[in-house]
C-alpha cells in the first residue's frame, strides 16, 4: 500500500506548497551517500519540530515519512471515507484483554503525521506529573523538571498560535494564549452546563486552530471535519507549521519513504537509515539518526534493526523497547437532548473539564482524567455505537436519526505504564518484507476504577445538562510509551534528551518517550519535548558532544 499507487511530490528540488493549489516551494536535497547531520524518521509533532529547529540551527537534515505530502486546499475532501487516506492502514496485530483499535483511531500516515488528523486539543501536563512517583506516590518520574517543560509548552503554543481562554482554571498561572478562545459550540455548552451543575470548573478548550488570520491560514470556519483533515488550513498541524519551517531552513523532507532498518557502523554508532522509496531499498548516511515514528513504528524499527552486537534490537539492552505502551482510556457517555445540538459544527471538543486531573480527593484510583465535549461525524459516531452495543436494524437507524439531538462527554484517562502492554514483532511480514507488529494491551484494575469513576461522573453531568436515554462506549486514544526516557540507564531507553543510552548517535523524539501518560491529549507534550531535544542538541553540538 505505502507508496505503491502514489507519486512522490517532494523531489526534483521542490516540495508541495501546502498553502496553494498545485504550487511548490524550493527544497534543498541531499544524496544518499552524503553523510547528513541528522536523518529523522517521521515528520509528526516530534520529527517535524526537531527537523525545523535543527535545520534553523544550521544542521543538515533529511526527514523521512512513510506517508504522502498533501496540499490540504486541493486534496482534502469533506468526506470520511475519502479521508481514510490520512491514516496508517497497514495491518497491526492487536491483542490483549482490550485490543487497541488503530488506523483512523490514532495513527496518521502523512507528512505532518497524526497532527494532520488530530483534534487539536492543546493541553499541558499537570506539573506534579513530571515528578509523579516522588510527589504523588505512583507511576514514574520524568527526567525533566516541570518548570522546564512548561517553558517549552509556552514556546510551542506560540509556534502553533493556540487559541485559548485568557484565564485557564487549573494549575499554576500561565500566560494568556496567543490567540483568543473560540466561541464554544452547543456541544461544548452542554459540558459547561453539566460541569456547573456538578460544581466543577470548565473552560473553552485550548485548540490548535486559529481564531483570527495568521499568515496564509484563515480563521477556523467551524466546518467540523477536523478529525479527517482541515481543508482550509486553519488547523495548525505540523504539516503547515513546522514542516514549511524545516523546508525554508534547508531541511529535505522525503515523502513516501518507509524506513525499514537503522544501519549500524563501526564503534557502536549508527551510520544511517535503510528505507524504501519508489520501489527500491536505499540507504541514507547520517552522523545521527532520530526515530520519531510514534509509539508503534518507533519500537518496531528499533526491534527490526537487531545486529550481532544488539541481538534484541537497538537501544534495547534493558529489554524495555516496546514495553509499557500506554493508550488513554477514551470512554464516553452519550445522551439525547431536547435541544438541537448539531455537534457537527466546530471542532469536536470545544469545552474541557480538567477537574479530575487536578483534584486528588474523592478518588478510588490513582491518576487523572480530563473530559471533553464531543462532535463525531456520522460514520464515526455510528461505528462507536455498533462496536460497543451491537445495535442493528431499525433501532440503529432510528437512534442515528437523533444525531442532531445527541451530546456526549468523553475522557482522556490516564493508564498505568505496565510492561505487559507492549509492542513486539510478529512472524508475519508486510508487503515490503518487514515484520508486522503485534500489540498487546489491557486495562489494569486501577485503570478500570478510573474510567468507571469518569463514566459515573460524566453521566451525572450530562443528566444535569438535560440529557437522557444514555449509552456508554469504551475505547482508547493516543499511543505513548514503549521507549521511555529516564535518569537511570538500567531502567530507561533514553536520557532526558531522547538520546539512547546504548548508542550515542541514536535518538528518539516522539510520544514513545513518555514514562507516564497523564490525563490529557499528548500532542503538546510531544511538541514541547521535541523543541527541548532540539535545544539540547544545539547545546551539545556547540560543545562538541554529539
Amino acid at each position: 500500500m505505502i507508496g505503491s499507487e502514489r507519486h512522490l511530490r517532494a523531489t526534483a528540488g521542490r516540495a508541495p506548497d501546502v498553502f496553494a493549489r498545485g504550487d511548490w516551494v524550493p527544497m534543498r536535497q541531499f544524496s544518499d551517500e552524503e553523510e547528513v547531520d541528522f536523518a529523522i524518521v517521521g515528520t509528526g509533532a516530534g520529527g517535524a519540530t526537531l527537523a525545523a529547529k535543527l535545520a534553523e540551527a544550521g544542521f543538515s537534515v533529511v526527514a523521512l515519512d512513510a506517508g504522502p505530502f498533501w496540499r490540504p486546499l486541493e486534496d482534502f475532501a469533506s468526506d470520511e471515507t475519502e479521508q481514510n487516506k490520512l491514516y496508517w492502514l497497514q495491518d497491526r496485530i492487536s491483542g490483549g484483554s482490550h485490543p487497541i483499535e488503530f488506523g483512523t483511531n490514532n495513527s496518521g500516515c502523512a507528512v505532518g503525521g497524526s497532527t494532520v488528523h488530530f483534534q487539536m486539543v492543546a493541553l499541558r501536563f499537570r506539573p506534579e506529573w513530571f515528578a509523579q512517583r516522588s510527589t504523588m506516590g505512583y507511576g514514574r518520574d520524568w527526567p525533566i523538571p516541570w518548570q522546564e517543560m512548561w517553558r517549552y509548552y509556552e514556546e510551542v503554543e506560540d509556534a502553533l498560535k493556540i487559541a485559548g481562554p485568557v484565564n485557564y482554571p487549573w494549575g499554576p498561572p500561565r500566560g494568556r494564549y496567543p490567540y483568543r478562545a473560540h466561541e464554544v459550540n452547543a456541544a461544548g455548552l452542554v459540558l459547561a452546563k453539566g460541569a456547573e451543575a456538578m460544581g466543577v470548573k470548565w473552560a473553552p478548550t485550548p485548540l490548535a486552530t486559529v481564531s483570527a488570520p495568521r499568515g496564509k491560514s484563515p480563521p477556523c470556519v467551524y466546518r467540523g471535519f477536523c478529525k479527517i483533515g482541515c481543508s482550509t488550513n486553519a488547523k495548525q498541524s505540523a504539516l503547515i507549521t513546522y514542516v514549511p519551517r524545516a523546508l525554508a531552513a534547508g531541511a529535505e523532507i522525503r515523502d513516501l519513504a518507509m524506513a525499514g532498518q537503522i544501519e549500524m557502523g563501526e564503534n557502536n554508532r549508527a551510520r544511517g537509515v535503510v528505507y524504501h522509496r519508489q520501489g527500491e531499498w536505499r540507504r541514507q548516511r547520517a552522523r545521527n539518526v532520530v526515530v520519531a515514528g510514534y509509539a508503534i513504528e518507533t519500537p518496531r524499527l528499533l526491534l527490526n534493526s537487531a545486529t550481532a552486537q544488539h541481538p534484541s534490537g537497538l537501544a534495547n539492552s534493558t529489554g524495555l523497547v516496546g514495553k509499557c505502551l500506554m493508550a488513554h482510556s477514551n470512554h464516553a457517555v452519550w445522551g439525547v437532548m431536547d435541544d438541537e445540538i448539531r455537534w457537527y459544527k466546530g471542532p469536536p471538543s470545544m469545552a474541557v473539564c480538567e477537574h479530575w486531573n487536578y483534584e486528588d480527593k474523592g478518588k478510588d484510583f490513582q491518576g487523572g482524567y480530563s473530559f471533553m465535549s464531543q462532535g463525531p461525524l456520522p460514520a464515526d459516531h455510528a461505528k462507536g455505537l455498533v462496536t460497543n452495543t451491537g445495535m442493528f436494524g431499525m433501532e440503529l437507524r432510528q437512534r442515528m436519526a437523533l444525531y442532531n439531538h445527541m451530546a456526549g462527554l468523553k475522557i482522556v484517562g490516564e493508564v498505568e505504564p505496565r510492561e505487559e502492554n507492549r509492542v513486539e514483532l510478529s512472524d508475519e511480514k508486510d508487503e515490503l518484507g518487514l515484520p508486522v507488529p503485534r500489540i498487546t494491551f489491557g486495562f489494569s484494575e486501577n485503570d478500570k476504577r478510573l474510567y468507571k469513576h469518569a463514566l459515573h461522573f460524566m453521566r451525572q453531568a450530562l443528566e444535569a445538562a438535560g440529557a437522557r436515554d444514555f449509552t456508554h462506549t469504551a475505547s482508547t486514544a493516543h499511543l505513548m510509551g514503549t521507549c521511555r526516557m529516564g535518569d537511570d540507564p538500567a531502567d530507561s531507553v533514553t536520557n532526558a534528551d531522547g538520546r539512547t543510552w546504548d548508542i550515542p548517535n541514536l535518538w528518539i523524539c516522539d510520544g514513545s518517550l513518555f514514562p507516564t501518560c497523564g490525563g490529557v491529549n499528548p500532542s503538546m507534550t510531544i511538541y514541547a519535548l521535541a523543541a527541548r531535544v532540539a535545544d539540547r542538541i544545539k547545546e551539545m553540538g556547540a560543545r562538541g558532544e554529539l
Binding site: 486541493e74 486534496d75 475532501a77 469533506s78 468526506d79 470520511e80 471515507t81 475519502e82 492502514l89 497497514q90 495491518d91 497491526r92 496485530i93 492487536s94 491483542g95 485490543p99 488503530f102 488506523g103 483512523t104 464554544v184 459550540n185 452547543a186 455548552l189 477556523c220 470556519v221 467551524y222 466546518r223 467540523g224 471535519f225 481543508s231 482550509t232 439525547v336 437532548m337 431536547d338 438541537e340 445540538i341 448539531r342 457537527y344 459544527k345 466546530g346 456520522p378 460514520a379 455510528a382 455505537l385 455498533v386 462496536t387 460497543n388 451491537g390 442493528f392 436494524g393 431499525m394 433501532e395 440503529l396 437507524r397 432510528q398 442515528m400 436519526a401 437523533l402 444525531y403 442532531n404
Partner: protein, 212 residues
C-alpha cells in the same frame, strides 16, 4: 421497535448544496463517483454475496426507499482491494479470510437452525440469528475459529455503517450538514441554524423525542 423509519428532516436533501460554497471540487468528485460508479461483485462467491446482501438489509433496513443505499458492493470492493483498517484483531482471521468465513458461518447457522438459506428466511428469523451471533449464542460448528460477536461488531456492523453513513441519502435523513468546505458554519449555539442547514420538522421531532 418500529418497523418504519421517520426522518426529522423530510424536506432536506444535502445534494442540493452541490453547487454552493459548501462543496469543493474534490468533494464533488468523490461523491459523484460514490453515486454513479457502484462497483460490481468481485470478491464474494455468489452464495456469500446473497447472504451479505440479506444481512445488510437487516442491519440497515430501508423499506422507505425505492432505491436503497447500496452497501454490499462497497464492502466487496473494500475486501477485494484489501483496503486495510490498520487493525488486525488477534482473535480474528486476516481480512479476506475473515469475511468469507463470516458469510459462510451465517449461512451455516441458518441451515443449522432452519435447514434453509439465510436469504430465504423471513426477517424475524434472520434477526433472531443476527441477535444470536451478536450474543455469542451460535449453534453451528462453522463458527469455530471465528468468535461471532467480535466478527459481528468489529468487522460486519462497522463496515456496514461506514458505508451507509458515507452516502448523501443517509446524511440527509439525519440532518447532517454534509460537506462543508470552504463554507463552514456561523451559528454555533443550541437551536440555532444557518440558512444552509437542515430544518427540523418540529412535530416529528417532538414525537420522536417524547419516545426516548
Amino acid at each position: 421497535m418500529s418497523k418504519e423509519f421517520t426522518s426529522l428532516y423530510p424536506n432536506y436533501d444535502v445534494l442540493k448544496k452541490w453547487d454552493t460554497p459548501s462543496w469543493n471540487d474534490i468533494t464533488r468528485a468523490v461523491i459523484e463517483k460514490r453515486l454513479n460508479e457502484v462497483p460490481r461483485r468481485r470478491f464474494f462467491t455468489e452464495r456469500q454475496w446473497v447472504t451479505l446482501v440479506a444481512v445488510c438489509d437487516r442491519v440497515m433496513p430501508q423499506p422507505d426507499r425505492s432505491d436503497p443505499v447500496p452497501i454490499a458492493p462497497w464492502i466487496d470492493t473494500r475486501v477485494y482491494e484489501r483496503q486495510g483498517t490498520g487493525t488486525h484483531y488477534a482473535s480474528l482471521p486476516p481480512q479476506q479470510e475473515c469475511w468469507r468465513h463470516g458469510m459462510d458461518a451465517i449461512e451455516a447457522e441458518a441451515q443449522h437452525r432452519h435447514r434453509r438459506p439465510f436469504d430465504k428466511l423471513d426477517p424475524v428469523e434472520q434477526d433472531l440469528i443476527l441477535h444470536a451471533i451478536e450474543k455469542n449464542e451460535v449453534g453451528s460448528s462453522a463458527w469455530d475459529g471465528l468468535p461471532s460477536q467480535n466478527f459481528f461488531r468489529h468487522i460486519l456492523l462497522r463496515a456496514i455503517v461506514e458505508v451507509y453513513y458515507a452516502h448523501p441519502a443517509a446524511w440527509s435523513e439525519i440532518g447532517f450538514g454534509g460537506p462543508a468546505s470552504p463554507r463552514g458554519y456561523v451559528r454555533l449555539p443550541e437551536n440555532r441554524r444557518d440558512p444552509w442547514e437542515a430544518e427540523e420538522h418540529a412535530a416529528v421531532a417532538a414525537q420522536r423525542l417524547a419516545a426516548t
